[in-house]
């Protein structure tokens, strides 16, 4: 009688149920905690693509100081970063490199398109060497308009990204 109950199929069902219960229990608090950590620790990759890098540098200067939000500028290796701020125009020579940088970063990774050039090509819409926006190269999370955007705008973009991360599911952690 008991032997009939303890079959591999039943054990599978039981373990699966237990897993579901555990997941349900863990998902909410752990997801909250991990998302909270990701919000306050956005480390941008050190890749400059065009002139918006000046304003990106100004954003970490004492007057604007993005480190208040946990964003450290001038970080060394891209393996430890989670944020790509595309600072302006992407030319045809830079686009493959940008994709390469994006591919080499560990999940989760976020992209901020900074400046009109990164969004649509901006002032250089008719240039022969400029891509019309970076949507074709990498997926973008937040668009920060301006030519170049003021540092305040960039900071607002970062806050918008934080709002977006809050809505995301933290399930894809490794």
């Amino acid at each position: 009688m008991l032997k009939d109950l303890v079959t591999p199929e039943n054990a599978n069902v039981f373990v699966g149920k237990l897993g579901d219960i555990l997941e349900k229990a863990i998902d909410k608090p752990l997801g909250y905690a991990i998302n909270w950590g990701r919000i306050w620790s956005l480390w941008p990759v050190h890749i400059e693509t065009a002139c918006c890098s000046v304003e990106f540098g100004a954003a970490s200067s004492p007057r604007y100081d993005v480190e208040r939000f946990g964003i450290i500028e001038a970080f060394g290796s891209l393996r430890q970063c989670d944020l790509v701020v595309v600072q302006g125009t992407i030319t045809r020579k830079m686009a493959p490199r940008l994709r390469l940088v994006y591919d080499q970063m560990p999940e989760p990774k976020y992209v901020i398109a900074m400046g009109a050039c990164a969004i649509t090509g901006g002032l250089y819409f008719d240039s022969y060497n400029v891509l019309p926006g970076i949507d074709g190269v990498i997926p973008v999370d937040v668009y920060v308009p301006g030519c170049p955007p003021r540092p305040e705008t960039l900071i607002q973009g970062c806050i918008l990204l934080q709002e977006k991360i809050k809505r995301m599911k933290a399930r894809k952690f490794v």
Binding site: H46, P62, A74, V101, L123, N129
Partner: protein, 378 residues
């Protein structure tokens, strides 16, 4: 085999001892370019700069826009020095369109371009600090340049991309009480940058790191055609504000700072000395400026030119002599616009200087060339 590959892709055969490093475009010490460095142990045996990551075809675009609408995109190569980078184009366009500039506008231009030179040099100094691993030296200049950016914002309305110079003068007049604010902030700014000596220029580690590295002798500086602070750090007294004065520079008392050593330290110190000189020039210009008057000769939106003409105008920008060659064929658009920029001219010294240098000196030598990749690529 190499013949079939397109130029620039040919692979070189190298010794096994020699390691090839790709410094850039994603590298904390490269900026917007790639430097292919071959090292033997700690010594650089060859260096091949690979610019062009921000090549946006501005010279081609300038052929499709008229003399006024060219202004916004021609200042983008150096947005933190936008007045100076636009200056030769505006001077050339004025000659081609045949218009006179009011006296007051000339003084406003001088003030704006000197303020912009300080803003540019401060940012350059900030990056120089971070290239040497000195994070305080990034933050201090990056914070202090906001003072002058405030002034420029008052003057032109935009933070960095001013588009303030137009053929015929400047776009709008100075706001009320600008002179007092300018004098006050410039005085404070000068006091601030003098403090950098204590933490940066007199720092024993910095001196021992940059002295006698990347030495560019006077003959080589002339032969390579370098310009700006690189040239002046090698002992050549050449400044276009004195040698070929444009606008009202001949009425002002301008001095140049020349150092004889020609090493990275001298190249990093000359722009800093130039900033103090710029503060002097601003104070003089504020004193001599006509207190009232027109600042702009009005133009039609699509102005006509006098006829076929070629113009080559030069100014002294933050990175050295900046020339603009305009070919006009009598139409409303220029036939050809060529920007001869200081960064591009100084780039040629990089492989020359880095050869035989240690890898640790690469960032300091590279950035001491006063090189802004976006401008070089155009």
């Amino acid at each position: 085999m190499t013949a079939e590959l397109p130029p620039g892709l040919a692979l070189q055969k190298v010794d096994e001892r020699i390691m090839t490093l790709n410094v850039g475009p994603q590298h904390p010490g490269s900026g917007h370019m790639r430097i292919v460095v071959q090292i033997d142990g700690d010594y650089i045996v060859a260096c091949d700069p690979d610019p062009g990551y921000v090549h946006r075809g501005e010279e081609k675009m300038a052929e499709y826009r008229n003399y006024i609408t060219n202004i916004p995109h021609l200042e983008r190569p150096v947005i933190h020095d936008s007045c100076n980078v636009l200056y030769p184009y505006v001077l050339g366009a004025e000659e081609i369109l045949g218009i006179e500039v009011p006296e007051r506008a000339k003084y406003v231009r001088v003030i704006a371009s000197e303020l912009n030179r300080c803003i540019y040099t401060q940012y350059w100094l900030a990056i120089y600090g971070i290239f040497l691993g000195h994070s305080t030296m990034f933050m201090w200049p990056a914070g202090d340049r906001e003072l002058l950016i405030d002034l420029m914002e008052k003057m032109s309305g935009a933070r960095v991309t001013h588009a303030h110079f137009v053929p015929g003068g400047v776009r709008n007049d100075l706001p009320a009480n600008f002179e007092d604010a300018c004098l006050r902030q410039v005085n404070y700014f000068e006091k601030r940058i003098k403090e950098y000596a204590a933490v940066f220029y007199d720092n024993p580690i910095l001196i021992s790191r940059t002295k006698d590295t990347g030495v560019l002798s006077k003959q080589d500086a002339i032969r390579l055609g370098t310009t700006g602070s690189v040239l002046r750090a090698s002992g050549v007294d050449y400044d276009l504000r004195i040698k070929e004065p444009y606008d009202v520079y001949e009425e002002l008392d301008v001095h140049t700072n020349v150092m004889k050593e020609g090493d990275s330290y001298a190249r990093s110190k000359v722009p800093w000395l130039d900033m103090m000189e710029s503060c002097n020039i601003i104070r003089q210009a504020l004193q001599k400026m006509p207190k009232s008057g027109s600042v702009r000769t009005k133009l039609k939106p699509n102005p006509k030119t006098k006829g076929p003409e070629t113009v080559y105008k030069r100014v002294e920008s933050g990175r050295g002599s900046l020339g603009c060659y305009i070919v006009s064929d009598g139409k409303t658009e220029p036939y050809r616009v060529k920007m001869s920029v200081g960064s591009f001219r100084n780039l040629i010294a990089l492989p020359y200087l880095l050869k035989g240098e240690k890898l640790g000196n690469m960032p300091s030598v590279y950035w001491s060339l006063n090189y802004w990749p976006v401008e070089a690529d155009r």
